[in-house]
Symmetry: none
DNA sequence: TATGAATGAGATTTCATTCAT
DNA sequence: AATGAATGAAATCTCATTCAT
């Protein structure tokens, strides 16, 4: 049974990986067909439907996976930086880390930022644990609860920062508009710090 | 000759309006076919291709048109409010006005905010005047030049605000996430004021 | 598995046969649409594209098939005529046989002679064996190697005769120009014999 | 009237020349549309239909023109070669001249040899004079009547040579099959001389 | 004569999904 | 569980031809 399950997991992963490649470096999501995916993954067309409902299903799973992986990397790095103590500094650390990941992997950025909505972010990353092994609720509790400074509405704060980061990263990193990221970064960091401070209680 | 040209403009507008209706209140952009558009617009299929290259072409023209129209309305309203004098207040006025428009016309919001990129915003609204009769450069010059307070990089400032507004409006107005707009609005206004203040020189 | 493969071969043949009928006795190649073919063959439109790239693909396969079949018939008949011994007589026998086939099947002639090029003739009939089970190389080796009389360049000789026969047959059999085939035939035979003799060595 | 007629002739020629360019060096006959032709020729679409019935009409006119021009050049050159006296030598001279023209202008060859049928050759070049100012009947009368050697059926002889030349030129000059023209030429000349001699009376 | 906007039938091609094996 | 042949609706786009100006 375990061997069969392994085999199934292998097929599923092959499909996910191939789909991601095609969505990002291939013809893009709309123009990639199920045929493209199964051909490259080396499975039969019918097999696709054993694992995913349709193309939108596999895309949403991928967004969840990739978003989870990004935050996992960022928060792991944060844990190693024990000297970063204030909420503000921690968020800026994570944000900078994520900007860095996006600069290194532009196709990932294109995929995530065009598709990640707060709904997916919240449902998949925080509430459910379908595509990830990490419970991000803890991470956020850690972030805000163990802080002297209190904030009006942590969820709203995170929401605003996530939207701000993903939309500005997209334009700057992929198109250099209105400035290249290295030039734009100081403005972005200032803006994010300002957004955070605006929610401070006392 | 004029009669023919009038007729052409009429046809073109019929196509644009029909397309917008179908993209927003109909089956959405992807599922709307050229056939759907021409059938409803009452022209032959070939006629579509006399005026637009393909579905993406007509969509981009529409985004430009609609974005221009939104900013035209907002800045016109601002002109009537002679007592709003500081840059900060003016921007907040415009932003609030735009949030208001979006709340009244959610389909417009859905259409604009998923499609408006800084590239289109800058090129179509500021640089070119293909789909609009207004020169928005003047508007922005007015905004920043006639102000006592100076800002580090006005273009970057506008960029950050546009991205912030369009992405937060989308989530809140269309999905009520993380809060309904009336609850979220104070946070957003505060955040925007903070972003602006962060760029103040002196 | 065999049952599926049989079925596939059946479908493919149904498409080939229907296409040939429509190209020759129907509206002709240009005016015959893929829809026409699949409708008559009783398969779905998509099925066509499982077996052939496009209309040109199926036409080329047909030319190869039909050309192979013509030569197979002619050379089989030749084998039965054991008393025809000289190369010259053998070629004239084949040529006459082919003219005869063309007269009996004018649609076949129209199809073949407008489309058969030396390239297809050589590649499909002699080099490859995609659409035929017969190796025509042997036939030609037989023809020239087992002969006392030698010829300068057998391939060039065959080339000239094939071009001569297919272009003259077309004009005479289909349009009676410049003469009907029964009147023209003596001139053609003489000409072919002359062409052959002109390449004799010694 | 004359000026208007000149203008008409100018338009007609512009269309013919443009069509020839597009048929030969552009997308080929099938893929060239009336739109392509009128756009390049700089006239309106409706104008095309004032001069030609359809695309097939303009093609046939072109074949006639080009074929006439080829034979005009060849026979003019022959007139200057007063020392070529026998019918056989004269025909070989013309044939060589034509092969030469085809080698210099491969697009012309492709166009002519795929489209020239004995029907067009005879009707347009010999019987009618729609697209040419020369009466080729005289040329052929000259050729055969002023000769000591007589031939069984001059028209059949010319027919066989025209078909032989155009089909062999096509394969050799355009595809180098079965040999490049410089290598193939001796075989072709021999074959043509043999064909002619085969029709000699006495 | 000349124009070129408009037509709309129809051609090619794709592709998600099913289902017998 | 896995396959992949078959489907056929539907999408995009072309283009010869007409006709009001």
């Amino acid at each position: 049974m375990s061997k069969i399950d392994d085999n199934k997991q292998l097929k599923r992963n092959a499909l996910l990986n191939t789909a991601f490649d095609l969505f990002t470096t291939g013809k893009g999501f709309q123009k990639t067909s199920i045929s493209d995916i199964v051909d490259r993954a080396g499975v039969a067309k019918g097999t696709f439907y054993l694992y995913f409902k349709d193309k939108y299903d596999i895309r949403n799973r991928l967004i969840a996976r990739k978003a989870a992986s990004i935050f996992l990397k960022a928060t792991s790095a944060l844990k190693r930086h024990k000297d970063t103590t204030s909420v503000e500094d921690k968020i800026i650390f994570i944000v900078d880390y994520v900007y860095g990941l996006f600069e290194k992997d532009k196709t990932l950025l294109g995929f995530i930022s065009k598709n990640l909505s707060w709904g997916i972010f919240k449902n998949v990353l925080i509430n459910s644990r379908e595509e990830t092994d990490v419970d991000f609720r803890e991470v956020f509790l850690d972030l805000f609860n163990n802080s002297d400074v209190k904030y009006q509405n942590p969820e709203v704060l995170i929401f605003m920062i996530v939207e701000f980061v993903s939309s500005t990263a997209y334009s700057s990193i992929l198109y250099g508009e209105p400035l290249e990221m290295n030039e734009l970064k100081p403005y972005l960091d200032t803006a994010i710090r300002q957004i955070i401070q605006g929610q401070r209680v006392n």
